[in-house]
Subunit: 232 residues, 2 copies
């Protein structure tokens, strides 16, 4: 099983034969952690959309919609981007529309893959087991921040790759494994140094970040099916 890591969406075009590979989209703070939580809490699907205006259209058709801009829940929306907003009693049996920027872009870019998987620390081992079950070459696709490399997505790529124990890994993956190795005993401390942490912490979402660092509290895995993410 070959493993490649894409550290920024700008580098995704370097990956060949995507249609034969499983692509794990990684946007730890917070899109893919939130999506994993929403599905775990019983939603039928998450529909990721890039623009608030598209979410608004879904809203007018009766969907529950989530998203925030500049750290505030979008006026009229049911949820912000915090995983804590999506409580079981509200989302169970529903299709939830979520507007995110970095994460959704990557899901769209990878949509021709053999399968797109949603990655988070919350269900790390479940994702690893799913990748083994799929038995395809793997692309760990870090959403980053506005096309720049970020620490949290890269460390997650390292965490997955380390557990897959493949001999066929590219150099970007080796880099992530080494960085994860240096940080794994205190992910939260590692993330605290990151640029994104500083952006989010200033918006008072330290609790969200601590949650997104929790490992293996969820056993299920979200995968893309046409335009929505459902449980595998």
């Amino acid at each position: 099983m070959q493993i490649e890591t894409v550290l920024s969406p700008t580098l995704f075009s370097q990956i060949s034969d995507v249609e034969h590979k499983t692509v794990v989209v990684i946007d730890i703070l917070r899109a893919t952690s939130t999506i994993t939580t929403i599905l775990h809490n019983g939603a039928d699907a998450v529909i990721p959309v890039r623009e608030a205006s598209i979410a608004q259209e879904y809203k007018s058709k009766g969907y529950l919609v989530g998203g925030e801009r500049g750290g505030e829940t979008i006026p009229g929306f049911d949820f912000g981007n915090s995983p804590f907003h999506y409580k079981k009693e509200i989302v169970t049996g529903k299709e939830i529309v979520l507007t995110t920027t970095n994460g959704t872009k990557c899901i769209e870019m990878a949509s021709h893959a053999h399968q797109v998987v949603v990655g988070s620390f919350l269900n790390l081992v479940a994702v690893v087991n799913h990748l083994r079950y799929m038995d395809k070459d793997v692309v760990l696709f870090c959403a980053g921040w506005k096309n720049r490399v970020n620490v949290e997505d890269s460390l997650y790529a390292g965490a997955v790759a380390q557990r897959l124990k493949s001999e066929e890994v590219d150099d970007a993956t080796l880099l992530c494994i080494d960085a994860y190795d240096a940080s794994k005993d205190n992910l939260f401390a590692a993330l605290k140094k990151s640029n994104h942490f500083q952006r989010l912490a200033s918006k008072g979402v330290t609790k969200d970040i601590a949650y997104c660092c929790e490992t293996d509290i969820i056993n299920s895995v979200g995968v893309l099916s046409t335009d929505r993410i459902i449980l595998a």
Copy 2:
């Protein structure tokens, strides 16, 4: 002092205000290690060129020229890409033309920087001291391999950044520092796992790679001056 790391030439355009920054071009295996060695061995300058045909023109004007393609010294050239080819008694007082692909491209891309510095483990502390002396924001520009991230250049970026001890580092730099931390006690072993090592080792240049991992055996620093690299 702000530090940013560019893990692939594809990401260099994300860097703003390059004209006010010191850019360290990093192509550890082997261009920037070889350039550092050539200057240390007494050459007046190294003229990096992308194409063998341009080197050939210099050759016809009487310059000593180096370069290889497919692991073999280019026919008629004086040297290959190995740092061991550039012996003191041959290069002293000369201007040496070197054709490389990844490294030269990055030098050209960064040529509008406040200053372009040539990075290698061989003169790691000398580079760090030079960056402190310049007292500008720093860009650690990894040449990678055909625009892909590579381990050896990334680890060197981590080595420089760790020594600069700045608080203002981007996430790509944090990733490199962590990876370097995990590998610094045995760089050669870390590089052995890399894709590039495997390419080069199959061409019998393990001795070159071991040399390029040696740290702080050279005290001087090469910098770009118009189209040639000279000692700072």
